[in-house]
């Protein structure tokens, strides 16, 4: 069954808000302000990009799909590079860890979707060609949706490598380069692949949202499925939307078959735990690759070259440094390092304060905060409704292995499918029946994220030991008592994991779900997502930063005060060993 990993850091750190979290907050906020300011200065010379980069001709869709896919791949490569460097640094250096880890945690909570416009401007100014800048911005947006949880997973794996394995490596004096590739990366691989899949799922949503961006009246359009959809919405063309959905379906299926299925099957060999009792995952692509003599011959020189790097890295037999560094020196360096970090944080604080004081009134902060409360209420109500629907269904499916085998991949597929492709159907209905957007736009926020609840609950229910089910039958537990004593407690930890993911995703989705349009009709609900979207459209950088900051604050505080304690409670009380 799928490995269930909580998407937020719920590790051993006990304190709800540490000093380093505050530092991390400031650093992130400071970086946002920096980006925004640079972006604002560069807003003027922005040339008007080609407006008709996209047509609604379905025959163009394969090309668009290919471009979208390439963007995804580029972002994935970036994310992997980031993961290998950032997480390794955090895991290996005590000093870096105190800053990098909280930073990652905060970054994870920033709804970068609200910030795409600013990054677009920033990257366009970096690149001479307009399209290249926009491409970079889109790749960056996807990257920010993928990288954090991958880095987290890698960091956690590095920190949990069994002691004896490290000892073997050290007693054989394996050099760090070889240790990284032969021990650390393999050990982290299963969790990393799983997180890559989750990241990809999130990424599709962002790629669709980031291909057509309007900043202060200018629209930047990159050829791709996302911009195709945007044009279809503008033209009120339901047929084109159906084409786009079909294309996306194919793209995701292909991705799954050609990339992730083989990856999962391949990563299975790196599992550290003993037998799970389940058949190992298989992939026809992997079987083909491993059995092909051609592939083997083609990769043989690469393998030799790779081994050669191990030898080169171990060539200079470094004398074991007499690392009896004076304890006082260590303390002094520590103090210096902390002072430097605090200085940067203070500078960020000053920058942020200056930025806020020039452009944002306290009434504006209050308004953004109220909007945040509205969105929060929406997220919780929707989570409750989705839970009421999907928990019973998930339990029902999970207890029937035959059904689960079919339903589980389907639910995971639905989670990967960018829900924003379905928005036009809902929006055209709301427009047609003149429904209240404040209520009827809300379900869009959870459209794509509810599946996390479903597939986690399925995983939970199918992991209920058969003895427990038998004893329930033996004691003739039925009805509500059965749910209360057996089913709900057993799936609870899994449910919480799913709900955390769903909640985080919904906050992000609110930016595109609270303001939608259908041709010239524009629907807007009251909420923080709409606030950010509105500010983006007007190019009001102060309000964008304010909105993004308030949303990050909401997400961080909810994670710390609600989700993490809940998760820990669930783990302690209900996890079936």
């Amino acid at each position: 069954m799928t490995r269930v990993v909580p998407p937020v850091a719920v590790g051993a750190r006990r304190s709800i808000l540490s000093f380093w979290d505050l530092v991390a907050c400031l650093l992130v906020l400071g970086a946002l302000v920096f980006l925004a300011e640079t972006g604002r200065e560069l807003l003027q010379p922005l040339p008007k990009p080609g407006m008709n980069a996209v047509t609604l001709d379905p025959s163009m869709l394969p090309e668009y799909a290919a471009r979208t896919t390439l963007r995804m791949l580029a972002a994935m490569v970036l994310s992997i590079l980031f993961t290998f460097t950032y997480a390794t640094w955090a895991a290996k250096s005590r000093r870096a860890e105190v800053v990098l880890l909280p930073l990652l945690d905060i970054l994870q909570s920033v709804p970068i979707l609200g910030f795409i416009s600013v990054t677009v401007v920033f990257f366009m100014s970096l690149a001479p060609g307009v399209m290249l800048g926009a491409e970079l911005a889109a790749v960056f947006a996807i990257f920010t949706s993928q990288a954090w949880n991958m880095a987290f997973s890698f960091y956690q794996s590095l920190r949990t490598i069994p002691e004896e394995l490290t000892e073997v490596a050290r007693s054989f004096r394996i050099n760090p380069w070889m240790r990284f590739w032969r021990i650390e990366v393999p050990f982290a691989m299963p969790a990393l692949v799983w997180n890559m899949m989750m990241s990809m799922s999130g990424g599709w949503f962002f790629v669709v949202a980031s291909e057509a961006i309007s900043v202060g009246g200018t629209t930047v359009t990159l050829p791709g499925i996302g911009s195709y959809i945007a044009l279809a919405i503008e033209r009120r063309d339901l047929g084109a939307i159906c084409w786009a959905i079909a294309a996306m379906l194919l793209v995701i299926l292909t991705y799954d078959q050609l990339l992730f299925r083989p990856l999962v099957a391949w990563a299975d060999r790196f599992r550290f735990e003993r037998e799970t009792g389940l058949p190992p995952p298989r992939s026809w692509v992997l079987t083909m690759l491993t059995r092909s003599r051609l592939i083997a011959e083609a990769t043989a020189p690469l393998v030799v070259a790779w081994r050669w790097t191990y030898r080169v890295a171990s060539r200079p037999p470094k004398r074991a440094k007499t690392t009896t560094t004076d304890e006082r020196t260590v303390h002094a360096i520590d103090r210096l390092w902390h002072t430097a970090v605090i200085a940067v944080a203070a500078f960020a604080l000053w920058k942020v304060a200056q930025f806020v004081s020039t452009g944002v009134s306290s009434a504006e902060v209050g308004r953004a905060f109220l909007c945040g409360l509205a969105t929060m209420a929406r997220v919780f109500v929707l989570l409750a409704i989705a839970s009421l629907i999907w928990v019973p269904i998930g339990v029902w499916i999970g207890l029937r292995p035959g059904v689960a085998r079919v339903a589980q991949p389907a639910a995971q597929f639905m989670a990967a499918f960018p829900a924003n492709l379905f928005f036009p159907f809902a929006v055209s209905t709301i427009v047609a029946f003149r429904l209240d957007p404040n209520i009827w736009l809300s379900p869009l926020m959870i459209l794509g994220t509810q599946w996390y609840i479903l597939f986690n609950v399925i995983a939970g229910a199918s992991s209920i030991p058969s003895e427990l089910r038998d004893i329930a039958k033996n004691l003739r537990l039925r009805g509500w008592l059965w749910w209360r004593r057996i089913a709900l407690p057993a799936v609870f930890p899994f449910y919480v994991t799913g709900a955390i993911t769903a909640s985080g995703g919904s906050w992000n989705a609110s930016i595109v779900a609270e303001v939608v349009s259908w041709g010239r009709d524009r629907l807007q609900a009251y909420g923080l997502g709409a606030y950010i979207a509105d500010a983006t459209e007007k190019g009001d950088i102060h309000r964008i930063v304010l909105g993004v900051a308030v949303m990050s604050l909401f997400v961080v505080v909810l994670n710390r005060l609600f989700w993490r304690p809940l998760y820990r409670h669930a783990e302690r009380k209900f996890r079936l060993a």
Partner: protein
């Protein structure tokens, strides 16, 4: 004929810092010499620091004081020529048997052909032919440990360090591996010159070693050395073998009390607040008392005999015997365990009577239990959090030991019904659900 020492360990100390700035010693003043052609055993209970010592010798951690000399040079970091075999095998699940064995040679930067040739040779020697392409998860425990041996031997080390290499295996498999190893060793087929074996199995130590160093706990130190002059292959039923086993038991049981003088002479087992308590279930305590009270023992038993008949190793049996001694239900001396009148009463009583008796002894002889009860009695709310006692214990011991001690006393306190504990809220109280 005295061979030059391969390895010399001189007055090694290892400690870790307590939160209040003090130091707790895991190893204190350890001296040991390994000569060519020797197998030296480090025997002791868990927590006596013998595995810590092995890791110091392997260069995996650094001592707080003293020196380790390997082939005449001081040790700095993991040296070439010292290889290790682990209790948990420590194989890389993503590498095949062959790749696991080759890893150490690759790290040496040897050419591909030589790596392959030496790995195959080691695999053949250790009896793994045919398993080269298998993954560890496909192998039985015994086969996995053979891979562990092959991986250590393939680098042609001078010294082989073995950290309880057979204790994760079943009895039959362990015996096969031991005899296979000893056969290769005594025929001179192994590339190694000396072996240090960490074990908590007395028979294993006497079977394999030329010298056995007996460790005591708190702090870990060597209390005696037993020479084994029998020739290989050794016969477990040989009277001289049995004598050595018996002697080792006596040494192990005699070395209990630390040097610290007891505050009050009647506190024999030193169950003061700072004593680390083993997690022993009350079922085991009752079980052992009943067994000793019943025939054929009739109130007194030889520890090796009872260990063999119950199929318990010293790490299983000693904590139970010690706890019973701390609670003053038995006396342990000279390799024997004897019920006192209280212990006999307990063995013959019914459940309620047993609980009363146990509660009485717990509150009288285990200072921590009495302390917790007193704190709860004195507080108006009759409640106290876990941290209240954990912090106090951590002044005397490591956080892990404090947790273990508290868990032990909670389990006994629950059985005796002298206090209650809610693991969810982490609060001690006097309210037992009734």
């Amino acid at each position: 004929m005295v061979a030059a020492p391969l390895l010399e360990v001189q007055s090694i100390r290892k400690s870790f810092s307590k939160p209040d700035g003090g130091e707790l010693f895991v190893l204190d003043d350890i001296n040991l010499t390994l000569r060519e052609g020797e197998i030296v055993g480090l025997l002791g209970r868990s927590g006596s620091g013998k595995s810590t010592l092995l890791r110091l010798i392997a260069g995996l951690s650094r001592p707080a004081g003293g020196s380790i000399t390997y082939l005449g040079r001081p040790l700095e970091g993991p040296p070439p020529g010292i290889a290790m075999v682990f209790q948990s095998f420590a194989l890389f699940p993503w590498l095949t048997v062959l790749e696991n064995v080759e890893l150490g040679l690759e790290a040496l930067g040897l050419p591909r052909e030589e790596t392959r040739r030496r790995a195959i040779a080691a695999i053949d020697m250790i009896g793994l032919d045919g398993f080269e392409s298998a993954y560890p998860r496909e192998l039985s425990g015994g086969m996995r440990q053979r891979v562990g041996f092959a991986r250590a031997l393939v680098v042609h080390p001078n010294i082989l360090l073995m950290d309880e290499p057979f204790s994760a295996l079943d009895v039959l498999t362990a015996e096969t591996l031991r005899t296979d190893f000893l056969e290769l060793w005594s025929r001179g087929k192994l590339p190694i010159k000396g072996v240090i074996l960490v074990t908590h199995n007395i028979e294993e130590a006497v079977l394999m070693c030329d010298r056995v160093l007996v460790f005591a706990t708190n702090p870990g130190r060597i209390v005696s050395e037993i020479k084994v002059d029998l020739t290989h292959p050794r016969d477990r039923l040989d009277p001289r073998f049995r004598d050595l086993v018996e002697r080792t038991y006596v040494e192990l049981t005699a070395t209990r009390t630390p040097e610290r003088p007891a505050a009050r002479p009647e506190r024999i087992a030193g169950a003061g607040i700072g004593t680390i308590l083993p997690r022993v279930s009350s079922n085991l305590l009752s079980g052992l008392l009943e067994t000793i009270a019943a025939p054929p023992y009739g109130g007194q038993a030889d520890l090796p005999v009872i260990a063999a008949s119950l199929n318990m190793e010293i790490d299983d049996l000693f904590p139970v015997a010690e706890t019973l001694q701390m609670l003053r239900f038995v006396e342990v001396a000279g390799g024997d365990i004897r019920l006192n009148p209280e212990g006999r009463r307990f063995a013959e009583a019914d459940t309620d009577e047993r609980k009363r008796l146990f509660a009485h002894h717990l509150l009288t002889y285990i200072a921590l239990a009495a302390h917790i009860r007193r704190v709860l009695d004195e507080r108006p709310s009759h409640q106290a959090p876990w941290s209240r006692f954990a912090d106090e214990l951590e002044d005397h011991m490591s956080p892990e030991a404090a947790e273990q001690t508290l868990r032990a006393v909670i389990s006994w306190g629950r059985y005796a019904e002298i206090f209650a504990y809610d693991d969810h809220t982490q609060i001690f109280s006097l309210e037992n659900p009734s």
